[in-house]
């Protein structure tokens, strides 16, 4: 008999939890548990991914989620997302202008030089993916020595606090559509309202911002390869810390409450038929942004944003242009949950399946005779 039929379900669950806990501590004597600060700093990209897919900017709890899920990105994001469900929404932030971001990296693929300059910052883009064998047995002393000497001679103020946006110059020239002020005023909150199609662009952006990186990448890649034709140029990709402004509870005045590490990508695509026949054609835009440092996700999202806008205007010709297809399939919490649920007992429904198959077979046998 299966693992469910008779008594003992509760015991089995407790046993499974113990077995999981054993996996966590099996390194046993001589090992030290993972430190939360270590996870946040040394597993920087993983940590950023959990902040973004979990949809909650809580660096400490994101690190805890990684620790308790043994580094499973889907499980860690899931734990953070579930924690979020216990918290009411107390305030709404106004739309933030990312011009104010304190940047650690910004590049443009569309212009050789940009106002403020290209700033490569931390990236693996041009790194040789050769295994650094010396890190296999790195001692704490070696680790700390690198930290101490790196950038030691650098003057403190070499980088300005903020940079102008690359798109501003294109916009000034009239090559981009004007900013739609009305759309900025009432953003859709996907945590408080269900998606009922057609959905506003803000709902699509919010859904993708906490979407699963691999899912976004796969659908965006289908568009890049030929199931679609966005052909984007990265006008600007920036990574940095955005000051979060909240309305003061009494005065309503905006005050800085903290900052979030985020990645933002703006892509420019070729012009389309304009709805307004009298207006001059302009480039079209795609926008991607997420918590943490995750450039592949921001780029994928920007491409999908452009593809979806095209799909909403002209009707979808490809999966990546279909809002239902993209938005209902990129959430990692939803998709991993449903994939996992097939492991649960289904023997009542399987009994019904067998009944149908047997009856159909009997009928066919009777007809054949």
């Amino acid at each position: 008999m299966g693992y469910v039929a008779i008594k003992g379900g509760g015991k089995a669950i407790e046993g499974a939890a113990d077995a999981m806990e054993y996996l966590r501590v099996r390194q046993a004597e001589g090992a030290v548990p993972l430190d939360i600060a270590t996870i946040e700093n040394q597993l920087y990209f993983l940590h950023g991914r959990i902040l973004s897919e979990g949809g909650l900017y809580h660096p400490k709890l994101a690190a805890l989620a990684i620790k308790q899920s043994l580094g499973d990105t889907l499980e860690a994001s899931f734990a953070l997302r579930a924690y979020r469900s216990t918290k009411p929404r107390l305030l709404e932030t106004a739309a933030h202008d990312t011009t104010d971001m304190r940047l650690i990296r910004r590049i443009s693929a569309s212009f050789k030089d940009i106002p403020g300059g290209q700033m490569l910052g931390p990236t693996t883009d041009y790194a040789l993916r050769l295994l650094r064998m010396e890190l296999l047995n790195e001692s704490p002393e070696q680790f700390q020595a690198i930290a101490k000497t790196l950038f030691a001679g650098l003057p403190e103020q070499t980088v300005p606090d903020s940079f102008p946006k690359v798109l501003d110059s294109l916009r000034a020239e009239g090559l981009l559509p004007k900013v739609n002020q009305a759309a900025r005023e009432q953003p859709f909150d996907i945590t408080r309202e269900p998606l009922i199609f057609p959905v506003p662009r803000s709902a699509a952006l919010a859904t993708m911002a906490r979407g699963e990186t691999g899912s976004l990448l796969a659908i965006a890649y289908s568009n890049m390869r030929g199931y679609g034709d966005v052909h984007p140029t990265v006008a600007e990709l920036r990574v940095g810390y955005l000051p979060v402004m909240l309305p003061h509870p009494i005065t309503g005045e905006l005050v800085e409450a903290g900052e979030v590490l985020m990645t933002e990508c703006e892509v420019v695509a070729m012009y389309q038929d304009n709805e307004n026949k009298n207006a001059l054609p302009t480039f079209t835009l795609g926008y991607g942004a997420c918590f943490g440092h995750n450039e592949v996700k921001a780029i994928s999202m920007a491409i999908l944003d452009r593809a979806l806008q095209k799909g909403m205007q002209d009707g979808p010709e490809n999966p990546s242009e279909d809002p239902e297809f993209v938005l209902l399939h990129v959430d990692g919490i939803d998709s991993m949950g449903f994939a996992s649920h097939y492991k649960m007992p289904h023997y009542v429904t399987f009994q019904s399946d067998m009944d149908r198959l047997r009856t159909t077979r009997q009928k066919q046998e009777a007809n054949d005779e």
Binding site: G9, T86, P88, E193, P194, E324, H346, Q351, D355
Partner: protein
């Protein structure tokens, strides 16, 4: 757990769910969209049903949780433990008659429900039309127009190809003469018990973010043709006898079929509480 609200969800979330429930009762069979919070268990493990239960439960309630008809299946145990942990003061039971609130996956209990009971069913696919139309936007229009022609064509094609309607569970059922629902993956055996039920029956799809209802005393008819009637699962053996439960001997209940250690096919009640009560009655 001290920083977590009674019944896990914050009060705003519970209020939204209750309002959606009221709307669902007012429009029987209509899928009410709601925002659906993430629960600390997997999407697909009953998070929709769980949110309904958590929004409804109060300390006076007695809760029964079943999965595949059993109170002791791993998922039922898990859900019940979580609800007990986050709702201090409530009672739980395995006895149907004692329960005020019943959360279930894949079964409606064998014995009839009472007017003072609420049954919450967990739903993986809320829309019966999904087998003929993948786009939610288009399905919404079809529901509004009560355009179920493609479902009827699907049933007809089944009969042409197989001489049988092949839908085994999740059988499309028309509620109050208009909306067709997916009654959740209950077997066809359970579908007639949706009709004119004494108890309120609620359906929660967490991942798909929908709530719908079959209110008490509401007509619920499985989709069929005049000359091809709806049929429940067949439990007759090769001699034409209705198979009985090997434990309680019931010849009317929905049976689980499995192979024992000796390779012998055996049958027993899927509803474990019903089966135990039948066995106790036999002893008296």
């Amino acid at each position: 757990m001290s920083d977590i609200n009674f019944a896990f969800l914050d009060e705003y979330a519970k209020r939204e769910i209750r309002r959606s429930i009221i709307k669902a009762i007012c429009i029987p069979g209509y899928q009410v969209p709601y925002s659906s919070r993430e629960m600390p268990m997997g999407r697909g493990f009953g998070t929709g049903g769980l949110q309904l239960t958590l929004a409804l439960i109060g300390i006076d309630d007695t809760l029964k949780v079943i999965d595949q008809g059993s109170d002791d299946s791993v998922n039922a145990v898990n859900l019940r433990k979580f609800i007990e942990m986050t709702c201090p003061g409530i009672n739980t039971t395995t006895c149907l008659q004692e329960a005020t609130l019943i959360q279930s996956r894949h079964r409606i209990p064998e014995r009839p429900l009472r007017a003072d009971q609420i049954l919450v069913l967990q739903v993986p696919y809320p829309d019966a039309l999904v087998i003929v139309e993948p786009s939610e936007d288009k399905r919404k229009i079809m529901h509004g127009e009560a355009d179920y022609s493609r479902l009827l064509v699907k049933l007809y094609e089944d009969i042409v190809k197989f001489d049988e309607i092949t839908i085994s569970h999740r059988y499309p059922t028309r509620i109050n003469g208009h909306y067709i629902i997916d009654p959740s993956p209950i077997p066809r055996y359970d579908v007639p018990r949706l009709n004119n039920s004494e108890a309120l029956i609620l359906f929660g799809a967490g991942r798909e973010k929908k709530i719908y209802a079959v209110p008490p005393h509401c007509p619920a008819e499985p989709l069929a043709f005049d000359d091809v009637p709806f049929r429940i699962e067949d439990f007759t053996d090769s001699n034409g006898e209705r198979r009985a439960c090997r434990l309680c001997g019931s010849k009317t209940s929905f049976l689980d079929e499995f192979i024992d250690e000796h390779g012998v096919r055996i049958y027993q009640c899927s509803d474990s509480d019903y089966c135990e009560q039948q066995q106790e009655l036999a002893h008296e």
